[in-house]
């Protein structure tokens, strides 16, 4: 039995999925809270409750839409604020402060917006960009908004034996220690790519937030088989790392109790700090 709580504004449903993935009831969702539901989640160490909760943090939502009118990039570059014009690529980069996002705009009117942390936020940001362009004088419409890619991370309460895991799932998993320290697992039925690391953290890229959740639910029993209990030193080392991470994060638009935040934050920056054995080519 596993319950997953996705923490981000808007989508906040708890779904109990069996290990056999046949039953996937959606409980009535609790109202979305500004303080993310990390506080609810249980201790990760040694707790063998019936329903371990795993938090999935959505880090990035990439969306794309069209304003259906030709954009004069030069004009935007001269009169817009917070824009950057790269002539060799032929596109404008505009940043927004409020949902902290970045948009790439082409003269055809197609715009790609990245950096949002949830699907509704992405939509809000997209609309803001369209509004901004409208203020600059273009006859913008809001067409064909679709979420292209969602990146989510989560951390398992146990470490994972990735060598054995990659041996077992040779058709789906790819592990090249020289190239990347994690196993790349490709799923086809929710179409998703998961990167599984030996510390137990997993990053998922999928076309939508629901797919991210489905992918994690799918992979949990597979990974559970290859779990490795964390020793005391590992836990200490992990906490030390995350405390170091806290200093790095200057902007946190998630405002919660710090203790829980550190313990459950997905280890994305762990990968950056990772004493990686890849060369820096």
């Amino acid at each position: 039995m596993m319950a997953t709580a996705i923490q981000e504004n808007g989508i906040n449903s708890l779904s109990n999925g069996n290990l056999s993935h046949k039953v996937d009831e959606q409980n009535s969702s609790s109202p979305s809270e500004q303080s993310e539901s990390i506080v609810k989640s249980e201790e990760t160490t040694a707790d063998n409750s019936e329903t371990p909760e795993i938090d999935i943090v959505i880090n990035n939502v990439v969306c794309s839409f069209s304003v259906r009118c030709h954009l004069n990039l030069r004009q935007i570059a001269l009169h817009g604020s917070n824009v950057e014009y790269r002539r060799e690529n032929g596109m404008i980069t505009m940043k927004l402060r409020k949902p902290y996002t970045t948009a790439s705009m082409w003269s055809s009117g197609k715009i790609t917006c990245t950096g949002a942390t949830s699907e509704p936020q992405a939509k809000v940001a997209a609309r803001r960009y369209a509004r901004c362009l409208q203020k600059l004088g273009f006859k913008t419409k809001f067409n064909n908004f679709r979420v292209v890619n969602v990146l989510g991370t989560c951390s398992m309460p146990f470490a994972i034996k990735i060598t054995a895991f990659s041996e077992r799932f040779k058709e789906h998993a790819e592990y090249e220690p020289e190239l990347h320290p994690g196993v790349t697992y490709k799923l086809y039925n929710p179409k998703a790519t998961l990167k599984i690391f030996s510390t137990g953290s997993i990053t998922v890229t999928a076309p939508s937030v629901a797919d991210v959740q489905a992918a994690i639910e799918h992979i949990f029993p597979l990974v559970y088989e290859f779990r490795k209990e964390r020793t005391k030193e590992d836990i200490l080392a992990l906490q030390l790392k995350q405390r170091g991470v806290k200093r790095k994060r200057s902007f946190t638009h998630i405002d919660i109790e710090e203790q829980d935040y550190e313990e459950h934050f997905g280890d994305t920056s762990d990968e950056e700090n990772y004493g990686s054995d890849e060369s820096w080519d």
């Binding site: 090249e176 320290p181 990772y274 054995d277 060369s279």
Partner: protein, 315 residues
């Protein structure tokens, strides 16, 4: 005679299967029936021109050969004619320039193939790879080239990746950095092509282990066999006990070599090992830090310590 009423046939054949073709076994000089295996001819001497050329051994051109050995599997099996360089007076113009200058391009379609094979050959030569690996790499390249899904990539990158895969498949993997050293393609690009080729040919390769590299690294460092065996044992044990989760096998191997060499008489510094193995010395340091607390369990039982375990450097 039993065959007086038959047509003259000077062909020997098996009495049970007169229509079966005979297979020649040139080593024993036999002719064997292909149906029942009966040895029909005995001590047959080959009178072909192959064996009848007796002129001076050093003759550059073999009179029984028309051209070089063809590369049957890998080229378009072309039987085109090349105009050789002229000799004698008639082939030169009044100006001394040779007529028929250019030898017509042999096979424009396979020009890329020939170039790639030459590239693979030169790369393999630099790291002294045996012919079997080169042949396997050539085969892989041919398959990839025919499949055409990696058409946009630089041929050199694909050639390097094929060489890498060939080494892996033969059970003697080379690290990406070693292949990088003999190729002008970056490690990133070789890695990308490697993944694409595996998907295109739908093969997979085995995971690398620490033992694959021990003999090469230790010989390059000039370490005696005892140290090499100890290092192999250390690395294997470290991976079994999972002391070094998530570390690349190369780094673990390098750290094991460091540990073994520091405990023996031939000590090597982290920098030297890092140079040979292609890992940074901080990486060796990190893996070594993880392995040091368990040093007692890692060493083999029959190891002679020149420096006892408690005096091993703690870096």
């Amino acid at each position: 005679m039993s065959n007086s009423s038959r047509f003259e046939t000077n062909k020997i054949c098996c009495y049970a299967h007169p229509d079966a073709p005979l297979i020649e076994d040139y080593r024993a000089g036999d002719q064997i029936c292909s149906e029942c295996g009966l040895v029909v001819g005995d001590r047959v001497i080959d009178v072909g021109s192959e064996w009848r050329t007796f002129s001076n051994e050093k003759a550059g051109n073999d009179p029984s050969r028309v051209g070089g050995p063809e590369n049957p599997l890998l080229n378009g099996s072309d039987l085109s004619t090349m105009i050789g360089p002229g000799r004698g007076d008639a082939s030169f113009d009044s100006f001394g320039v040779s007529k028929y200058q250019n030898r017509r391009t042999m096979s424009s379609s396979d020009r890329a193939l020939i170039n790639a094979f030459r590239e693979i050959n030169s790369m393999a030569d630099r790291i002294n790879l045996p012919k079997t690996i080169v042949d396997r790499a050539n085969n892989l390249f041919k398959q990839v080239h025919d499949g055409k899904n990696l058409k946009g990539r630089a041929n050199d990158a694909i050639a390097s990746a094929c060489l890498y895969i060939a080494c892996r498949q033969e059970g003697v993997p080379r690290t990406f950095k070693e292949i990088c050293a003999v190729s002008k393609i970056s490690k990133k690009e070789i890695g990308r092509c490697f993944k694409l080729i595996l998907k295109a040919l739908e093969t997979s390769v085995d995971l690398i282990t620490t033992g694959d590299f021990m003999s090469r690294f230790c010989s390059n460092l000039g370490l005696p066999n005892m140290v090499q065996r100890a290092a192999t044992h250390i690395a294997r044990k470290a991976v079994e006990l999972d002391i070094v989760p998530g570390r690349s096998p190369i780094s673990v191997a390098a750290a094991a070599i460091y540990m073994a060499s520091q405990a023996s008489e031939d000590k090597r510094s982290q920098k030297e090992i890092g140079d040979i193995a292609g890992v940074a010395d901080v990486t060796i340091r990190q893996s070594y830090k993880l392995m040091y607390p368990h040093a007692v369990k890692l060493f083999p039982e029959d190891f002679k310590f020149a420096t006892p375990i408690d005096q091993l450097p703690q870096m």
